[in-house]
């Protein structure tokens, strides 16, 4: 039993980069996202018996992150600093700077989506979950997920067009 726990902890450790990435789609700020991951990992350890071997571990963890976000972290994020200063990179080269700016623009647009939309975008577009698995994480039917994802993309497209106009 202990061996299983150890193996599970190891597998969770290898997923940490992806957990951070998913958390960043929910919480704009790096520290908030990492707080979210830390809390979720601690919860995962405590509730490791509720993980069913053979099922997707990443899905299980994404669900924990989602719940931790909704229960606790969301309300305590650094809203006043929602738009962090544009960071590093401009001096490295034009191509790099352009790609960097493009990434920042998309991140910013995602941060302006509704929470429901951020969740589907994070699970499907960022983490690459199949619709069926993403729907399970969110406890919604696949049809609902599909239409939500389509609306999220439309909203995202509008935000990006707006940004393009204002720049």
């Amino acid at each position: 039993m202990m061996d299983n726990d150890n193996a599970l902890h190891e597998e969770i450790a290898t997923l940490l980069p992806r957990l951070r990435r998913f958390a960043r789609t929910l919480a704009w700020h790096r520290e908030d996202a990492d707080d979210l991951v830390q809390l979720s990992v601690e919860r995962a350890i405590v509730h490791s018996s509720s993980y069913q071997a053979g099922t997707r571990l990443d899905s299980w963890l994404f669900r924990i992150i989602k719940n931790a976000w909704i229960d606790e972290v969301r309300s305590r994020t650094r809203r006043s600093e929602l738009f962090a200063p544009e960071e590093e990179g401009e001096h490295v080269g034009d191509d790099f700077a352009e790609a960097h700016q493009q990434r920042m623009a998309v991140q910013k647009a995602v941060s302006l989506l509704s929470e429901e939309h951020r969740l589907v975008v994070g699970l499907v577009l960022v983490e690459g979950l199949p619709y069926k698995d993403a729907a399970e994480v969110l406890d919604i039917p696949v049809g609902t997920l599909t239409s939500r994802l389509a609306r999220a993309r439309t909203a995202l497209q509008e935000l990006l067009s707006e940004q393009a106009r204002t720049v």
């Binding site: 726990d5 190891e10 992806r18 990435r21 990492d34 990992v41 994802l149 389509a150 993309r153 497209q157």
Partner: protein
């Protein structure tokens, strides 16, 4: 021409359509450039969003996130081979490659180091802390001083500089007891050939103060490697209070 909903085109871009619908969309795309552009936009959106967050997964993970998943640091072990073999066996059982995390490699390295030191210096003493020492005899670590006294005389769950956790009869018919010292050093010792041979000692889980009496058997504060070592050796159930007392009186001889 058949028309497709935006959701269907999106699902096509995401690779979510069944074979028949996928073919139908592809055929339509050949004939309808506008439809092909809509699909391309969905694909581009997916790529852009993925690319926007991809660098996050390349960042170094802050240590505080991995910390709760980290194994205890094993600082001494009389038999490195036993654990390594157990690991290898488990890996074979799982019949898939097992990736060791850095903390585990670190633990193994620390374990090897102490093993090598003990072996190299032959009769060196390894002070655990004041009055609790482990000496090396023929490459085996043996409890001495306060630790040996506690292992001989103390009953499980009782306080003191050394706390005794679980006592049990091992598969090789020797008695073994888990212990935790005042400075959070935990381990397992077995009575073999008249001495308490320390099977392993683990430093610092940082799991707080002893819980008096509450976790008399295999307390939850015991580090995982120690619990693993117990699991590997135990024959049947841990000793209850009465059996423990009798064993003390028999000086832990079978």
């Amino acid at each position: 021409m058949k028309s497709f909903s935006d959701e269907t085109l999106m699902a096509y871009a995401d690779g979510e359509l069944d074979e028949a619908t996928r073919r139908a969309v592809e055929e339509a795309m050949h004939k309808d450039a506008a439809l092909a552009r809509r699909v391309a936009r969905h694909k581009a959106m997916r790529n852009d969003v993925f690319a926007a967050f991809a660098p996050v997964a390349e960042e170094a993970v802050p240590p505080r996130l991995a910390q709760p998943l980290r194994q205890a640091t094993v600082v001494s072990l009389d038999s490195v081979r036993a654990r390594r073999e157990a690991e290898q066996q488990a890996a074979r059982k799982a019949s898939r490659s097992r990736h060791w995390s850095w903390p585990e490699w670190g633990a193994l390295a620390a374990m090897l180091m102490v093993g090598v030191m003990a072996g190299h210096y032959g009769l060196g003493m390894l002070p655990l802390e004041n009055g609790e020492t482990v000496a090396s005899r023929d490459g085996t670590l043996v409890a001495q001083g306060r630790l040996a006294t506690a292992l001989d005389q103390q009953l499980g769950g009782n306080g003191g500089p050394v706390r005794i956790g679980t006592s049990f009869l091992a598969q090789d018919n020797s008695y073994c007891r888990s212990f935790t010292t005042a400075q959070d050093m935990s381990g397992l010792a077995c009575k073999q050939g008249g001495a308490w041979k320390v099977q392993l000692a683990v430093q610092g889980q940082g799991q707080g103060k002893p819980q008096q009496g509450e976790f008399r058997q295999a307390g939850s504060e015991m580090p995982t490697p120690v619990l693993d070592a117990i699991d590997q050796r135990i024959a049947g159930q841990p000793l209850d209070a009465k059996a423990e007392q009798e064993a003390v009186q028999r000086k832990w001889q079978r």
